[in-house]
Symmetry: C2
Subunit: 217 residues, 2 copies
């Protein structure tokens, strides 16, 4: 995915028509569209191909299974037209390796992003103590990048210091959840992920343009 | 789900016709059928309803997201006809609570099973140290049970000592992965989960019957 706008849309709607309408509206303002299970379960894997005409698609499936199941999930996701998958790392290095292996085998170099920490309150209970180790594992495994929460800038900085410049950081939690896009980029993120502030706006396009303007200030 | 045979089929195929044929063949020998993302992504959520005519369906989605996304996933899974969902606990108590809340709100009392530890090599890296805490959290949250690996009998015993008699243990890893069904039940599991030994057999029905005979010895 190209680093043009540094903005990723989290398209957390569950209706196909809304999803396509919003994607069409904002596609010039985003580098990628992130899609989760709720939309895919409601509409089918075909949504990846539909959306990929507007922007590269990141499947936010938070894949967290044994290596063989991870492999099967990633194979289906890439085959359906997604360019990247978000996976968990706490299931261990072999589960992650299986995902990276499938990404490398796929045509046009697909990406794996590893969750290092999550932005909700429960994210501090079991995740926080191992976030650094998971980031290190993502680096060793040859993942494309990690996911770190925009709501905790010091964590983004810490994760950046662990992974160096080799891996990308994509960072959710900007907008309704409180993170500032400009601050997160300054803290070391490569892309900010914005959901509700864009897809719930009367004009998703204007909302996205507004966030980009803020980022450039 | 009723405790009749104490056997759950892990239906890890990705083809609808095979899935239905195997389910039809073995349904008298199993208390439930466990289905993962590879089959659902390949065939659609409708597979839950198709399979539920043969046995209760457990959606092995290893749900591991923020509370709101977990909620949306569980809602769709129950609505599509599954009776239970397997979720992760390492995402913290609020993510788990969201799943339990949806299960309780659903008609006919749906079940949530929480992964406490996994059977693959990488399962010891981040999971093992927190398995006990996750089991305790599952108990506190009011989940129906936990998932513990049949390949590590001492872990099944330990998890049983933490959760007491209130929660069920479902235990994968029997058969090809090396666990013995009879031993796992003795160690404290309520159900054993068997996949390849059944669905890859020339006669899945005979294979299931054989495992049941072993369990009764």
């Amino acid at each position: 995915m190209n680093k043009n706008t540094r903005l990723i849309l989290a398209l957390d709607v569950t209706n196909k028509e809304s999803a396509l309408r919003i994607a069409r509206d904002v596609h010039e303002y985003v580098d990628a569209i992130k899609v989760g299970y709720p939309l895919v379960l409601a509409t089918g894997l075909g949504i990846f191909n539909d959306l990929s005409q507007y922007a590269p698609v990141i499947a936010d499936f938070k894949v967290a299974d044994i290596p063989n199941t991870n492999r099967l999930i990633c194979e289906q996701v890439f085959k359906a037209g997604a360019d990247a998958v978000i996976v968990h790392g706490f299931t261990g290095h072999d589960s992650l390796d299986a995902c990276v292996e499938i990404a490398r085998k796929s045509r046009n170099g697909k990406d794996i992003y590893v969750v290092t920490e999550m932005s909700h309150p429960g994210g501090v209970e079991f995740f926080r103590p191992v976030a650094g180790s998971i980031a290190k594992m993502a680096l060793d495994a040859g993942a494309s990048g990690v996911v770190a929460p925009a709501t905790r800038l010091n964590r983004v900085k810490e994760i950046r210091s662990i992974i160096g410049s080799e891996l990308s950081i994509i960072s959710p939690g900007v907008g309704v959840q409180g993170g500032s896009a400009a601050d997160v980029i300054k803290a070391g993120a490569d892309w900010v992920i914005v959901g509700r502030s864009i897809y719930q706006a009367d004009s998703p396009k204007n909302a996205a343009a507004g966030i980009l303007a803020d980022m450039q200030n």
